[in-house]
Structure formats: C-alpha cells, structure tokens
Symmetry: C3
C-alpha cells in the first residue's frame, strides 16, 4: 500500500501512431496496479476529443513501414518503400496511409485509440488537459470527453516529482 | 531544504513548436522552487543561439492545427486542413506557417522563446550544451548566449540519475 | 554496490538521426557503471535488425542542418537551407541526405549505429524487443541480432518503476 508505483506521462503528439504509446503504457501500468497520470498538451490535446479523428503520414518519417492489410502473408509482409515524392504529392495519400494503418492494427487485434482510452479511464488513469495550450490551440472543455481534469505545467510537475517514472511522448 | 525536487530535460528538437516544452517546463519548475537542468543536443542546439530563428512546418505532422490569428472569433477558431501536397509544394509555406504560429502565440499572450529562455536563466535553470554534437552539427561557443555550460552525455546522466524527473523532448 | 544507478529507455524511432540518442545514452551510462535497458518498440524495432538500413530526411524537420562533408572548412560549415518543396520533390533526395549525414558523422569521428549497438551489448546493456509491435509491424525474431530479450510494455514498466531515469525517445 505504501509503495504504489506512479507513472507520469506527457502526451504531446496527436497523430494516429503516436497516440498509442501514452494509452498503451498507462493502461498497462494500471493493469499492474500502478497509478498513472496522462497530461495532454500541444498536439496531444485532440486525443481528448469526443470524436477522435487522427491521421498519420509517412511524410518525413522514412522509418514508417507501409504494409498492405490484405492479400497473402508474403504480400502483407512486404514493406512498401514510399519516397516523400510520392507520399507528399499524391492527393489523398495520407488518408490512404491512415486507413491502412487502422486496418493493419485491427487485423492484428490491437485495440483502437477510443477503446484504449476508455480502458484507461475505467482503470483509474487520470487525464489532465493543459489549460494554457487549450486556449492557444483553440480547444474548449465542451470538445472533450467527461472525466478530464484541467491544469497547467505546475500540476504535472507536482505529480511527476513524486512519481517513479516520467515520460515525454 | 533537504528535499529540493530536481528536473532533468534533454532538449533535442529545434523547431518553433518543440522549442516551447523544455523552456515552459523548466521555468515552471523553477517557479515551484525546483532545480532544473536543460541539456541541449542534436537539433536542440540552435535554441542556445544568440539570434534565434526557429521555423515550424505542418509537413509530416497532420496533427498540427493551422489557425488564422486574425478575423472573427469563428474564423480564428477554424482549423485549416492543409494536406502535405500543399504545405510541401507551395513556395514559402513554412515561412507563412511560422509567422502564423508566432502571431497566434503572441495574441494568446504566450511568451516568446527568447523571453522564456531569459526567464529560465534568471531563475537559475542550468543550460548545458552537448559538446560532441556541437562539433558534429557545426556550432561554436561564440554562437551561443552567455551562461551556458559545456559537457557530454555523462554530465547529463550524472545529474539525471539523482533527479526526480527526467524527460527526453 | 547497493546503489547502482539504472537507466530505462524506450527507443521508438527508426530514422538515422533518432537512432543515435538511445545507443549513445545507454553506452555512456554503461561506461559510468550504470545499468541500462533499451526497450525497442514501434519504429524503433528496425534498430535491432541484423542488417541496419536507416534513412533520414529533412522533410518536416526545418531544424535539420544540411552540411556538406567535403570542401573547405567554410563550405563544410555552411548550413544549406532546403525547403520542403525541394527535399520532398527531388527524386533521391533522402538517399542523398542520408549519405551526407553518414559521411559527416564519419568525418567527425562519431561511431556508426552498428558500432554503438555492439558497444552497448558488450558492456551489458539489455535490449528488449516489444513483442506486440513486432507482430503489428511485421518483424520476426530471425530478423534481429542475438542477445535480444522479448517482452511487452509490462516488462519495461516493471524495470522502469525501479530505475533512476526513464526516457521516451
């Protein structure tokens, strides 16, 4: 009881891929009876929206594998090399990349961001939205799901200073 | 007195947007009577330059909201969807995106990077420049502001090992 | 003996530039008689491949300096401003950028990723591959070097909860 481990995470990114790590780590921590706080700021704020509509792009990330979620095992295993010249210029490419990633995750049995987020809330993970960046980036409390706390960097630091792990994602 | 909390941050990114978190967190920590060290390495080194000239681009970051810092409240609240095909191809787009972000921050009363940096130094936040990457990326001590310490990964690790929070930004 | 410092790192990125920080920090920690664990997940998994083939692109990162690794000192010191319109559209630009970065690092005496990785393993740094994302991103154990452990987020959190530093890179 005296030694409950604590995890403090700053979720600062809002693309489909980088939305996963905060929710995966926090829900895993909760499943291990740890305490977890997610502080959403900057591009991470959209992760709190009622209707999540995240995108992903391989542009600028040559490490992103492009997989096809259908066809034979070999075809699915192939890693399509998409240079920026294609991904940055073909209209609708990001929409396709987003669709393909969602489909791949679904086929592999990975939960959606919405499901992971719900899992977090049900297991007691605290969500804090950064009040200052909400105003800068144009978000309002009514845009967000219920059960969110509001605060600033100080609120995060106060928690993190006594946590066992702090991560900036 | 015996329990001053310590924050150790690696600032590795040098775009206008990612320049904010290290300075915001460090100055907030200092305001809470915590100790803070910022270790600048890789793309984060330009944050120490006398003349800061940071840019930002929505290319490769579909989560970046594009806002107009003028016009009616509704117009300002609108989030312009800019696909890579536009942002990556219209000449001067990044310059415009940078100008728009600076203007939005200013209108919202957010301090500039220069102001936040000064605030950090005045409140005792330590700045360490990574000697090894300075050489690799072509920076010299004379490019940087006064009051910077110079060291390597070992210097950061020694501090961070006894800190309460460590963040890689 | 009772107070060996511990470093826990999540390596989530797989481009040539972001491959450096995890290996540099872990090898530096090991050289300081600290314990270090690298947990590879998401785009960081390719860093464990037998044959490493990492790329880098300035697209989407206006903070990346483009240097020429040849010619006079002044010529080498010049920072080429490459807008996305060029870097995203000239065929083979990323291949060139990758070649230039590798050459610059080599000239400056920086070890290659392969060398740093070997140094880590020789000095006892533990490598853990994220089993869940391996499956999602299509990696198999036979693709990876020897000496890798396999586990999930829980395995990382268990270690990190008792570590002195945890970093998400």
């Amino acid at each position: 009881m005296a030694d409950i481990k604590k995890l403090a995470i700053i979720a600062s990114k809002g693309t489909l891929d980088w939305a996963y790590p905060p929710f995966i780590l926090a829900s895993a921590a909760a499943a291990m009876d740890m305490e977890a706080v997610l502080f959403f700021t900057f591009y991470g704020l959209p992760l709190l929206k009622k209707e999540i509509d995240l995108k992903v792009t391989p542009v600028g990330n040559p490490a992103m594998p492009m997989k096809m979620p259908f066809g034979s095992k070999e075809f699915q295993g192939f890693n399509w090399p998409i240079p920026n010249i294609i991904s940055g210029n073909v209209p609708g490419f990001d929409t396709m990349a987003t669709m393909l990633m969602k489909e791949t995750f679904k086929k592999k049995g990975v939960a959606t961001i919405e499901q992971l987020r719900e899992m977090c809330q049900e297991s007691g993970v605290r969500f804090i939205a950064c009040q200052m960046t909400m105003d800068v980036f144009g978000f309002e409390r009514k845009d967000f799901i219920d059960g969110v706390e509001y605060g600033g960097a100080a609120m995060f630091l106060e928690y993190a200073a006594d946590a066992n792990m702090s991560l900036f994602i």
